[in-house]
C-alpha cells in the first residue's frame, strides 16, 4: 500500500515552516508596497473623484472597466479550469486545482474593486442593493448596473465557497500536523477553520457531493457573470460594441489569460516550493497544451471578427476598422500577438516544462488580453455618434497606480495563500495515489 512510501508531508510542511527565506520576505514586501499604493490611489480617488482619471466624453470608461473585465476574465478561466477538472475527476486536478481556485479568488477580489470605484460616489455602492431606504427609492432592475451588482457579488461568494469547500479536509490535516509538531497556536487556527473535520466516511460522502455540486454551480455562474459584463457593452448603442458576438469574444479570450496565469503560477510554485512530484512534468505539459489550444481558439475569434466585419452594415464596419487600424491599432494587434501567436510556442516540449519559458508566455497571454480589453473599451469608441473628434483616452498616473495596486493585491493574496494553506489538494493526491497503486 502507498502509506509507507507516499506522503503528502512536503505539501503540508511549508505552511508550518518558521521561516520562508529572504526571497519570500522580499516578494511580500514588494507586493505589500504595491497594495499600500492601492490604498493611496483609492483614498486619492475618494477625495478627488474620477476627475483624476483620463476618462472623458466619448471615452466614458477607461482603466476602471478595462481592468475589471480583465481581472474577471482571469478569475473565470482559472475557475473554469478548476471546475472542469473536478467534474471530470481528471488526474491533473490534484496538482493544480487548489491554486487555480485561489488565483480565481484573488483575481475576483482585485476585479471587484473597480466597479465600486467607478461609480463616482463609491461610498454609496449599496444603493444598487434592494433595501428599504428612507425615501422608499428602489433600484431599477432593468438597468445593467444592477445586473452587475448581483453578478459580482455572486461571483465573489461562489468562488470563495468553491475554494473553501475543497479546503476543509486539508485544513484538518494542517491542524493534525501542527499538533504533531506542538505548534498549538497554528493548530487552533487551522482547527477552527477546518470546522472540526474528523474524516468520517459518512462526512466524506456528503463532502464530495457538496464539492462537486458547488463546482457544477460555478460553471453556469462563470459563463453568466462574464456574459453580463459583455452584455453591458452590447446593450449600448455604440456600433463596435453593439454586436451579438461580444459575449462570446469576452468569455473565450478570457480563457488563455486565466490559463496563462495558472500555468505561470504552477511553474513558480513547483520550483519555489519544491513540489515537482506533485505538479509533475505531465501536468505541466497538459496545462501548456491547454493554454496553446485556448489561444488557437482566440485566433479563430479574431479572424471571425474581421471577416464578419466585411458583411456588416457600413457603420459597424467603420467602427471595427477604426478599432483594428485606428489610433489604438497597436493595442489590438499587440493583444492578438500575445494572446494568439506567442502561446503557440507552448506546443514545444522545452517551453512546456521550463519555468523561464512558461512564466513569461503565461503572463504574456494575460497581458495580451489586457491589451485586447483596452482596445475594446477605448478603441471601440473611436466611431461613436459625435461629429467632432475628441482627444484620445490616455490613462493618467492615478489610473496606473490603481492597476499596479490591484496587481500588488493579487500577488499579496497569492503569497499569503502559498504561505498559510497547502497549495496542492492533499486528500485528492492521496486518493489518486491509492488508486494508482491498485494493480
Amino acid at each position: 500500500m502507498s502509506g509507507a512510501e507516499f506522503t503528502t508531508r512536503p505539501v503540508s510542511d511549508p505552511p508550518l515552516r518558521e521561516d520562508f527565506g529572504w526571497r519570500f520576505a522580499g516578494a511580500v514586501a514588494g507586493a505589500g508596497l504595491l497594495t499600500l499604493l492601492l490604498a493611496y490611489a483609492v483614498v486619492a480617488l475618494l477625495i478627488e473623484g474620477t476627475a483624476l482619471w483620463g476618462t472623458n466624453i466619448p471615452f466614458v470608461w477607461g482603466f476602471d472597466l478595462i481592468n475589471y473585465v480583465w481581472w474577471i476574465g482571469i478569475a473565470n478561466a482559472a475557475s473554469l479550469f478548476a471546475v472542469v477538472l473536478v467534474l471530470r475527476r481528471h488526474g491533473l486536478r490534484t496538482a493544480v486545482n487548489r491554486f487555480a481556485e485561489a488565483a480565481a479568488l484573488a483575481a475576483v477580489a482585485a476585479a471587484a474593486i473597480y466597479p465600486i470605484l467607478h461609480l463616482g460616489r463609491p461610498w454609496l455602492f449599496y444603493w444598487t442593493f434592494p433595501y428599504p431606504a428612507t425615501y422608499q427609492v428602489w433600484p431599477n432592475f432593468r438597468s445593467t448596473l444592477v445586473w452587475d451588482f448581483w453578478g459580482i457579488m455572486s461571483h465573489v461568494v461562489v468562488t470563495g465557497l468553491f475554494w473553501y469547500t475543497g479546503l476543509i479536509p486539508d485544513l484538518a490535516t494542517m491542524r493534525d500536523r501542527a499538533v504533531a509538531r506542538s505548534r498549538m497556536v497554528q493548530a487552533r487556527i487551522y482547527g477552527v477553520a477546518a470546522l472540526g473535520w474528523r474524516g468520517s466516511v459518512r462526512h466524506w460522502a456528503r463532502h464530495q457531493a457538496a464539492y462537486r455540486l458547488v463546482a457544477a454551480m460555478v460553471l453556469p455562474m462563470l459563463v453568466s457573470a462574464q456574459t453580463i459584463v459583455a452584455l453591458e457593452f452590447a446593450t449600448t448603442l455604440v456600433p463596435e460594441w453593439h454586436q451579438a458576438r461580444l459575449p462570446l469574444h469576452v468569455v473565450a479570450t478570457g480563457i488563455p489569460s486565466g490559463l496563462g496565469v495558472v500555468l505561470a503560477l504552477a511553474a513558480l510554485l513547483r520550483g519555489g516550493l519544491g513540489l515537482t512530484r506533485y505538479i509533475d512534468d505531465d501536468d505541466m505539459r497538459l496545462l501548456a497544451k491547454l493554454t496553446a489550444a485556448a489561444a488557437l481558439a482566440c485566433g479563430y475569434l479574431y479572424a471571425e471578427a474581421l471577416l464578419v466585419a466585411v458583411l456588416e452594415d457600413a457603420t459597424t464596419r467603420q467602427a471595427i476598422a477604426a478599432r483594428a487600424f485606428g489610433a489604438y491599432a497597436g493595442l489590438y494587434w499587440g493583444g492578438a500577438l500575445l494572446v494568439v501567436v506567442v502561446p503557440q510556442l507552448l506546443w514545444l516540449k522545452r517551453a512546456q516544462i521550463q519555468a523561464r519559458w512558461a512564466v513569461p508566455i503565461g503572463i504574456g497571454a494575460a497581458a495580451g488580453v489586457w491589451l485586447d480589453r483596452f482596445s475594446l473599451v477605448a478603441g471601440g469608441l473611436l466611431r461613436d455618434h459625435l461629429p467632432n473628434p475628441a482627444p484620445l483616452y490616455v490613462p493618467t498616473v492615478p489610473e496606473w497606480t490603481l492597476l499596479a495596486g490591484t496587481i500588488g493585491l493579487f500577488a499579496l493574496l497569492m503569497l499569503g495563500f502559498a504561505r498559510f494553506v497547502p497549495v496542492v489538494s492533499m486528500y485528492e493526491t492521496r486518493h489518486e495515489e491509492s488508486e494508482a497503486d491498485v494493480p
Binding site: N140, R142, W147, P169, G196, A209, A225, Y427
Partner: protein, 174 residues
C-alpha cells in the same frame, strides 16, 4: 459521551473488511474515519450525498424565485419607473439576476447543507482522544464501534476488532 472501541488500520481494504465484519455482526452505532473518500465504506454505512443535492436544488430554486419575485414586486408594484414606455414586467432584464442569485443560493445550500447533515462545525469529539488519531487526516484508517447497540458490549467490540488485525486498538473512555 458514549464510550467505544477504536481500531487503526493502514489501508482502506482492511478498514472495509473490518467494517463489513462489524456490520454482519449487528453493529449499527459505528463510524469509520479515512484521510480521503472511501466510497465502499460509505456505502456500508449507508451514507450518500443525495440529500445534499436535494438541499442545493431546493435552495437554488428558492433563491431564483426570491430574486425574480423581488424584481417583479418592486418594479411593477412598489416603485414603477417609466423608462421610455418600456414594460414594467420584463423577463429579459430580470433574467440575469434571477439565474445568478439562484446559483448563489444553490452553492451556499450545498456547503451549508453538507455541514448541517454532518453536524459540523463541532470542534470537539470523543474520537479525537484516540491514540494516533492525528494520522486519520494523513495516512491511517480508523473504525470506531460505539456502545449502545442492543445486546452488544464493548468487550465483544474489542474481540471483533482484534480479529481484524489492526495496527492498534484503543478504548475511548467517557
Amino acid at each position: 459521551m458514549t464510550p467505544g472501541v477504536i481500531a487503526e488500520f493502514d489501508d482502506p481494504e482492511a478498514l472495509v473488511a473490518a467494517l463489513r465484519a462489524a456490520k454482519d455482526h449487528g453493529w449499527r452505532r459505528m463510524d469509520a474515519y479515512a484521510p480521503y473518500p472511501v466510497p465502499e465504506a460509505a456505502k456500508l454505512l449507508g451514507a450518500t450525498g443525495a440529500r445534499v443535492a436535494w438541499i442545493a436544488i431546493g435552495a437554488g430554486l428558492f433563491g431564483a424565485a426570491l430574486a425574480y419575485a423581488t424584481q417583479w414586486w418592486l418594479s411593477v408594484h412598489v416603485y414603477p419607473l417609466n423608462v421610455g414606455g418600456r414594460p414594467l414586467h420584463a423577463l429579459p432584464p430580470f433574467l440575469p439576476a434571477t439565474t445568478i442569485v439562484g446559483i448563489l443560493w444553490a452553492a451556499a445550500g450545498a456547503l451549508i447543507g453538507m455541514l448541517a447533515l454532518n453536524r459540523l462545525p463541532r470542534l470537539s469529539h470523543p474520537v479525537f482522544a484516540a491514540q494516533n488519531f492525528g494520522r486519520a487526516s494523513e495516512d491511517r484508517f480508523f473504525l470506531c464501534l460505539f456502545e449502545g447497540d442492543p445486546g452488544l458490549t464493548l468487550r465483544e467490540a474489542e474481540y471483533l476488532l482484534r480479529r481484524q488485525k489492526p495496527l492498534r486498538l484503543s478504548v475511548l473512555a467517557t
